[in-house]
């Protein structure tokens, strides 16, 4: 059993287009294997970096390495997609940009799962939940119980 992007339980997961994993993005797409949402972080100045880049965009240091964030986030904006763009990924589902508390502007695009689409609001507190497809762990976000 798994949870789909619509929050419905089903036994067979929808087809998803997966990312091509390489050395630069591996920490992000496979961190979920250890239950961690990881981004590159600059050693000298602490800046979180996303999407990954070999140098820190703030101080230009090359001393950057993956580090885990808390997994908490706030829905910055979202859309309920109704168009069947991808075979078997059946609408409606919620696409969102969530922002992480670790750094202003540290954001990613994701799906909000574990609730009905009409329950999603901007400002809603969510937390990461991973789903494994082949060799990648997709970070979805679900409402934090009582998170308001």
């Amino acid at each position: 059993m798994t949870v789909t992007a619509t929050g419905a339980a089903m036994t067979e997961r929808p087809f998803r287009v997966l990312p091509r994993v390489d050395e630069r993005n591996e920490h992000f797409w496979r961190g979920g294997a250890e239950g961690e949402l990881r981004f590159l972080r600059c050693g000298p100045c602490g800046t979180w970096i996303h999407p990954p880049s070999p140098v820190c965009p703030s101080c230009l240091s090359g001393d950057v390495a993956p580090a885990a964030v808390s997994g908490r986030a706030v829905v910055h904006t979202f859309t309920v997609n109704h168009q069947p763009w991808i075979p078997t990924l059946d609408p409606p589902y919620v696409v969102a940009i969530v922002e992480l508390p670790e750094q202003e502007g540290l954001r990613l695009t994701t799906n909000i799962v574990g609730c009905e689409p009409e329950e999603v609001t901007i400002g809603m507190s969510v937390e990461v939940t991973f789903e494994n497809y082949d060799d990648v762990w997709l970070p979805f976000f679900r409402p934090v119980p009582g998170g308001g």
Partner: protein, 400 residues
């Protein structure tokens, strides 16, 4: 205005446009040649005069119908002798190619540059439903893996700019109280103007009820917030300003160009998701001229999605930041007889997705007084053209 701006050394000397339609199943190169020859003839030139080509995005097979014609095909088909040429996707939106041409003639690399944009997305789509236009990677078949920007969106089913723009619109709705009823003003205005344009694809009247009851694509954007895939090619000739005596009609001048992007070049990492890269392009445009928004007689502003037009209106200063909703509500201010006539040919929403160049063509039509039933009254002298959304944006201020 301070120094001699480089763009003032260039003019638009002629325009052309092929047959435009849905699924007309014509060779895109044939459409391109049709537009190109019309533009060259319109300028009073011959193909022997053309020594430069600029295009967006260049020849590429993916996404289907997005291009398919580049510099090479056109040069060879017309046997042009080129001193300069450029085609490519990485530019300040579709009009970046025109700015390339402006720079080429201003710096003496070419005298007359043929600029074009060709699409055949309607025929490529065929009888199938609309596919997502995926930037930087198109296929979604078995075994395909997303890379580049698309890796951050495709795994989440956010396959289309419809989704990315919808999230920006949703944020704008949240921060400023913008509503679907307000956004409708842009789609209804486009349809009203398309009714006066014989080449527009959708010309039958549309009501607010039609809009509000249309099926959702990606909230808050409905079907009528999305442009209509089309087949067609648009061309303009950019010439040296001092070539004017050789031209057939009084040239259209480039008063200023806007090509800036100061924020992060990304659909989801952009700092303020209630606006887009066009914010920086618009600011640059006004920094290069003494003219102000109140001087503009007609505005042709990209509407790949209606919300993009709202952002252009705000960024160019036709209304304040966040005030786009009330500004377009009801459509009176943006109508043909309004304070700033907008998308006078019907835009991409109703006239067809000619991808940026349709707006440039229409601005020239209006400045030359060739608009027929849709001609803006009062002999317009200043037009602004903006194209692109998300991290792509470029704009032109044109005068005659």
């Amino acid at each position: 205005m301070g120094p001699d701006r480089l763009e003032r050394r260039a003019v638009i000397s002629g325009i052309g446009q092929s047959q435009v339609g849905r699924r007309i199943y014509r060779d895109p190169l044939e459409l391109t040649i049709e537009a190109a020859l019309e533009a060259i003839e319109d300028a009073g030139l011959t193909r022997d005069d053309i020594d430069g080509i600029a295009t967006y995005p260049g020849n590429q097979d993916v996404p289907p119908g997005f291009s398919g014609v580049g510099v090479t095909e056109v040069q060879d088909a017309l046997r042009l002798n080129l001193d300069w040429y450029a085609g490519g996707l990485e530019s300040p939106g579709q009009l970046g190619s025109v700015v390339n041409a402006v720079a080429a003639v201003a710096t003496g690399l070419a005298d007359h540059v043929l600029c074009f944009r060709t699409v055949w997305e309607a025929s490529a789509q065929g009888s199938k439903g609309r596919q997502a236009v995926t930037m930087g990677g198109g296929a979604t078949g078995s075994g395909f893996r997303a890379s580049g920007f698309m890796q951050w969106t495709l795994p989440f089913g956010a396959a289309s700019a419809a989704n990315w723009i919808a999230m920006m619109a949703q944020r704008h709705f949240h921060e400023y109280g913008t509503t679907r009823e307000q956004l409708a003003g842009i789609a209804l205005n486009a349809r009203r103007n398309a009714g006066l344009n014989p080449k527009a694809i959708y010309r039958e009247p549309m009501t607010l009820d039609d809009y509000l009851s249309a099926r959702m694509i990606s909230t808050p954007l409905c079907l009528y917030d999305c442009d209509v895939p089309a087949d067609g090619s648009t061309a303009v000739v950019v010439s040296r300003a001092d070539a004017a005596p050789d031209l057939r009609r009084p040239p259209i001048r480039f008063e200023a160009v806007g090509t800036a992007i100061h924020g992060r070049p990304s659909w989801d990492q952009w700092d303020d998701l209630t606006t887009m890269a066009l914010r920086d392009a618009a600011a640059m445009l006004w920094s290069r001229t003494d003219l102000r928004p109140a001087d503009v007689d007609v505005a042709e502003l990209y509407d790949g999605f209606s919300f993009i037009t709202l952002c252009w209106l705000e960024a160019l200063g036709f209304c304040g930041k966040g005030e786009g909703g009330p500004f377009v509500e009801g459509g009176e201010r943006i109508a043909l007889g309004g304070e700033i006539p907008l998308n006078t040919h019907g835009g991409q929403l109703s006239a067809g997705r000619l991808h940026g160049y349709g707006f440039l063509h229409e601005a020239c039509v209006q400045l030359w007084g060739r608009g027929g039933d849709r001609q803006v009254a009062g002999d317009p002298e200043v037009a602004v053209v903006g194209a692109g959304g998300g991290p792509l944006g470029g704009c032109l201020l044109l005068t005659r």
